[in-house]
Structure formats: C-alpha cells, structure tokens
C-alpha cells in the first residue's frame, strides 16, 4: 500500500526514511503541536516550497536542465488565483477558474520558451529563461491597474478559509479550529497529493527517459527518444506543478505580489533548497525545503546572538549579522555542489554517484 503510494520508490535508507516521517508527522500535526500564527505560517510555507522545489527538481535533477524562470510559473499560479478572487469575489468556482486559467497560461508559456530554447544547449536555456523571467516580473509590476504593481493584491478567500470562521464552538486538543487551520490542512493535503503525483511522474517510463537524457543525451536520441520533445514536456509538467504551488501560496497568504512570488530572490532560494537537499531525488526537495525555511526563520536569531557574542572582533560581527544569513547558505551551496553533489538526501541514501554533470 505505502509502496504503491510512493510509486515503488521508497527512501533509500532508514535514516532518510526516519527523517521524512518526522517531517511529515511534524507538518501533519503542526497546528496542534506548534501553537501560534508564526509557527503555522512556517509550516505552510514548508508545504508550499516542498511542491515548488520538487517540481524544480524534475527539471534540474531528473532532466538535467537549469531554468531560472521557475518562479515565473509560481507567480502565474499565485496571480491566477489571486486576481480572479480579487476581481470576481470569493468563492470556490472562482478559485477553480483561477487555477485552470493559470495552468493554461503557464503550460503554454513553458511550451513557447521550451520550443525556442531547448533545442540547443543547457546554457542557452538558462540564459533565455533568466531573461524571460525578469521581463515577466517587470511587466507584472508595470501593469499596475491589473496586477496591483509593486504592492500586489490583497483579496478575500472563500468563507470557509477565513480566520474568523469557527468550525466548532469548543477548541479541539487545545487549539481552536478556525478557517486558518482548515486552510493549512488544504495546503498540507494538496502538497502531499502533488508530491506523490510528482513521485509517480519521475518513476514512470517518461521519468526514466528524462533520466536517460540527463545521463547521455546523444545516446537517448540514438535510441529513438526525441530529446527536444521530452525536455519540453518535462518543462511543461514542472511548470504546471509550480503553478499549483503558486495557487496554494495565494490561498494561504490571501495576498499575491511580486516580492512573494516572482522575485529572483525566491528563485535563488529554490536553487539553494534543491541543491542542498539533493538533486535527482524528490525526497531531497522535502529535506531541502524544510531545512532552508527553518534556517530562514530561526538561523537569523542564532546569528544575532553570534554577532553579539563576537562583538569587538573586526569584521566577524558584520559577517554574522542576521541580514547576512544568505552568505552562510551560499557557502553551503557551493560546498555542497563540490563535495556532496547528491545533497543531503543523496548522502543519507548512500549513493555514490551524483546526477549533476
């Protein structure tokens, strides 16, 4: 049963499995175990980024292409749901409409970018996606009458998900079951479902072909698989998953703006998560996203303490300033590409070979 759910690709080692179960249990029980809005927000963010990072891993880890436009699709999902709720008012059909429209736009855009640039080298695709993504971001901030510009749009979600909604009069296990908790479980269950879907995808025949292309493009082509077709398909599917992650994010935040969905900083975050967690295995996405977001939220406090402790030493406090947390993660990123090409998940699974080449 569990094997079937995991598409016959269970975690490769006990330690990894234990860690994953711990994360799953933690996320499942988050509203009851970790009280407070901030903790719940962190948990929801982890769920959303697990989907986003897993979808990015389909491109980077499984197909071996680097895209810098992944946040564009994340943003399309966010804006799709956000703008339809903003203009058409709250309601479930509106949410569905927003998701469908965003999916169509996202996949068509991925197809167009893929057809223009995936015929040639990985480098070409990386540069073109970078350019397209920044143009999309500028366009979004410029069309401010429609998208709200830099400020983004705040909108009302369906009644059931609002913080003021109370499902039961009595608190359950010490936590009041508000619409917020329901929204969290919507995000959590969608994340689980989408993650299992992604797992199914990479373990299908299609996923095997992608891996073959990653390992040896010429050979895959010689065996009769049309590399351009498979790469473009992978890029479209990964875009669709990113759109879904964006929709989840919009429903959770009740807000969509360029900073939270489109910015290049988020693209870098995703890149760091996928590499630190481990490319070429979707479980790496879970570990990477969890670790990174926990670090983002709690490392800064730690660094503030460290900076205070090292006061008086030249430069060191500045390097440990809480705003410089990305520096530490950047160093970790470069080191992990050199020394653990398979990331944490790969190390735990004890596989020697790295997928990145």
């Amino acid at each position: 049963m569990i094997r079937a759910l995991l598409s016959d690709d269970p975690p490769k080692s006990r330690l990894l499995a234990a860690l994953l179960v711990l994360i799953l249990a933690g996320l499942a029980a988050a509203p009851f175990v970790f009280p407070g809005a901030a903790a719940l927000n962190t948990a929801a963010k982890i769920c959303i980024f697990i989907v986003l990072v897993a979808s990015y891993d389909i491109l980077l880890g499984y197909t071996g292409i680097v895209s810098f436009a992944h946040t564009m699709f994340f943003g399309i999902g966010g804006y799709g749901v956000g703008l339809s709720l903003y203009f058409l008012g709250p309601g479930w059909p509106v949410v569905a409409l927003g998701i469908v429209v965003a999916l169509v736009i996202g996949v068509v855009l991925a197809l167009a970018v893929g057809l223009v640039s995936l015929r040639v080298k990985a480098i070409f695709f990386a540069m073109i996606t970078l350019a397209v993504a920044s143009a999309f971001m500028i366009l979004t901030t410029q069309l401010s009458e429609f998208t709200g510009g830099e400020d983004g749009r705040t909108f009302r979600v369906p009644e059931l998900l609002r913080p003021t909604t109370r499902l039961f009069e009595e608190p359950f296990l010490g936590t009041a079951i508000t619409g917020r908790v329901l929204a969290y479980y919507l995000v959590f269950l969608s994340a689980v479902a989408l993650f299992l879907l992604a797992l199914r995808l990479v373990n299908s025949c299609f996923g095997r072909v992608l891996q073959a292309i990653r390992e040896n493009e010429m050979r895959a082509e010689a065996l009769g698989y049309r590399v351009v077709y498979f790469r473009t398909m992978a890029s479209c599917l990964s875009a669709a998953l990113a759109v879904m992650a964006g929709a989840m994010s919009a429903l959770w935040l009740r807000y969509t703006g360029p900073e939270t969905t489109l910015s290049f900083a988020i693209m870098l975050d995703v890149l760091l998560m996928v590499v630190i967690g481990g490319t070429g295995t979707l479980y790496g996405a879970v570990i990477g996203a969890t670790l990174f977001i926990l670090a983002q939220n709690y490392l800064q406090k730690l660094m503030a303490m460290a900076a205070a402790a090292t006061e008086g030493i030249p430069l060191l406090p500045r390097l440990l300033h809480p705003d410089r947390w990305l520096l530490l993660l950047g160093v970790l990123f470069v080191l992990s590409i050199y020394f653990f090409p398979t990331g944490i998940a790969g190390k735990l699974a004890g596989r020697g070979r790295g997928p990145a080449a």
Partner: protein, 341 residues
C-alpha cells in the same frame, strides 16, 4: 565561418577569406530609421539615439569578456555580475577620499580622479577574476550544469560579502563636476557623461579589435574560439590563454561597473545581477563567442530599450525579449554565429 558558401567560393585564393556579413550591420540603422518615423521630432530622436549608444557601449564593455570566455573554453559565468558590483564599490572607495578632485571645477582634475577610480576598479576586478577562475571555475571545466550552479553560488557569496564589508544600504556615486549636465548645440542637448561613455566604449571596442586581429595573442584567441583542441595540439597552452582572457573579461566588467554606477548614480551590490539580464540577451543576440556580434547586439538592445521606453514605457524590457526572439527566429545561432558551435 559566417557564411560557408562564401568560404568555399573564396577557396581559389591562397587564404580563403570569409566575406564580411553586412546584413546584421544594417539592423541598427533600420531600427533607428523606424524609430525616427515613429518618434517624429528629430531632436528627441537624436537624444534617445545618443542615450542608446551610451547604454549600448556600457553593456558592450561588460559583455565582451563574457562572450569571449564562452567562445574559448565553453565556460559561461553566471557570476559575471559580481565583477560589475566589485568595480562599482572599488570606484566608490577611491572616489570618496578624492572628493576635492571630483568636485573641483576643472576637467583635468575630474578626469584624473575618474581615471584613477577606473584603473583601480579595472585591476581590482581583474585580480578577483583570476582568483575566481582558480577557485570557482577550474574544478568544473566542461560540466555545464555545475558551472551554472557554482557561478550562481559565487555571485550570491560575492554580493553578500560586498554587503558585509560596505554595508547593505544604497550607495550614491556623484558624477564629477565636468561631466554633469549637457552640452547644448542649438536645440540639441548632449549629456556629457553619455559622450564620455560612448568614447570609452569605442576605445575598448577598437582596442579589442586591434588585439584580436593584429597581434599574435589575438590570433591564438581567435583560433581557440574556432577550434581549441587544434590550438592545443599545435603546442599552445590554451589554459593560460583562457585564464588571461577571463581576467581581462572580469577587468572590463569592473570598468563597465564603474560606468554603469556613474550612469545610474546610486547602486547596491545587486547592480551586477540587474545588468546581467541585458548582458545575456546581448550575447545571445550577437552569437555566443563573437565580439563583433556582441557589439552590434549591445547597440541593438540599447536602442530598442531607449526607443520603447519613450514610445511605450510599460513594455520596455519585454521589448528586448521580443527583439531576441525575432533575431533567433531569423538566425538561431545569433547574428554572427561562431563556427565551432
């Protein structure tokens, strides 16, 4: 070369000479002409064209090294933006104590201060380029995916370090007195700094063309871009050549960073990654590895950006993407494709 048929017909001569491909050269002229019709007023058009030339030259100075490095060793440096930022910060550090010179009402003193700042920025970025090549890029030769990721990581670290050293706030960079304002000729206004930028860009382009076409090292670089294995087989150390080109490219990025920071007047460490989008579009349009294509691409992109900023400001950046798509549909390898690829 650019046109294989031309090479073949020329085979009768002692050395087959590739014909200069003139069609791409007509593109900026055509674009300028079209813009002239759309804009209508000649003075506005001239101002915009000068602005575009200045911007194009700055982008060219930044991009030229990147495209050569790719041509030589198949290495693309996503961290190139770091050198732009380093150049800007170094120039700021030099210009700070030189404030009396910068504010003096004398062209010579202003130029001296600026030249010193540019020199320090250029050599600083070049030295950093040497280190970057050694530490970051050398372990991942020939592995594109890792190269992209590693150089991106290098960019993050460099930006954060700059913020840690100089503080994370926005920095201001004042133009020297002699380069503020504009020279007015009748109805026409030429901003002085833009004229300076055009001059510097042209000097860099000419120096580069002379080096590439008239010196032994240039010959080796061009040969390496065409076929690096053959150059190696003939006994030249292509690695050493590559390191030199990489350092020179980083140095030029540093110089470009100074110009760009002065042009923008304020900057943060993100200045590099902001320009890099345009730089990538430029080298793709020009054809990866081609210096001439890069020059032309930079002018085209800058023209497109400046004209659309005036005609339809909301789509200014998207216009460069449209330009890139249009050119790639016409010539999928860029304006001047390099034979190897």
């Amino acid at each position: 070369m650019t046109d294989q048929a031309a090479t073949r017909t020329g085979a009768a001569d002692a050395i087959p000479q590739a014909r200069l491909d003139l069609i791409p050269l007509a593109l900026p002229v055509a674009l300028a002409g079209l813009a002239f019709l759309l804009i209508g007023t000649p003075t506005t058009w001239l101002t915009l064209t000068l602005a575009a030339l200045a911007m194009g030259m700055m982008i060219f100075v930044i991009a030229s090294g990147l495209t050569l490095v790719f041509g030589l060793m198949d290495v693309i440096n996503f961290g190139h933006g770091a050198f732009i930022a380093v150049g800007a910060y170094l120039a700021m550090t030099v210009l700070g104590p030189l404030a009396p010179l910068v504010q003096a009402d004398s062209l010579m003193l202003n130029l001296a201060a600026l030249a010193l700042a540019a020199l320090v920025a250029t050599f600083g970025a070049g030295a950093l380029g040497l280190a970057f090549e050694r530490v970051v890029i050398r372990p991942v030769y020939g592995q594109h995916l890792k190269q992209i990721l590693i150089t991106m990581g290098g960019l993050i670290i460099a930006e954060q370090l700059l913020h840690a050293i100089f503080g994370g706030d926005q920095k201001a960079m004042a133009l020297p007195t002699a380069f503020r304002g504009a020279i007015v000729v009748g109805d026409l206004a030429f901003e002085k700094f833009r004229l300076l930028a055009v001059a510097i860009g042209l000097v860099v382009f000419l120096a580069m063309q002379l080096t590439l076409n008239r010196t032994r090292i240039g010959l080796l670089i061009r040969a390496g871009v065409e076929n690096s294995e053959m150059v190696e087989a003939l006994g030249y150390r292509i690695r050493r050549l590559f390191v030199g080109v990489f350092a020179a490219g980083s140095a030029l990025a540093g110089l470009g960073g100074v110009l760009w920071a002065l042009y923008r007047e304020t900057f943060t460490a993100a200045i590099g990654s902001e320009v890099m989008v345009l730089v990538f579009i430029v080298i793709i349009i020009g054809g990866l590895g081609s210096v001439g294509g890069c020059f032309l691409g930079a002018i085209l992109v800058a023209m497109m950006a400046n004209y659309t900023a005036f005609l339809a400001p909301k789509v200014a950046l998207a216009s460069s993407i449209l330009l890139m798509v249009a050119i790639l549909m016409w010539r999928p390898q860029g304006l001047y494709p390099v034979a190897k690829r």
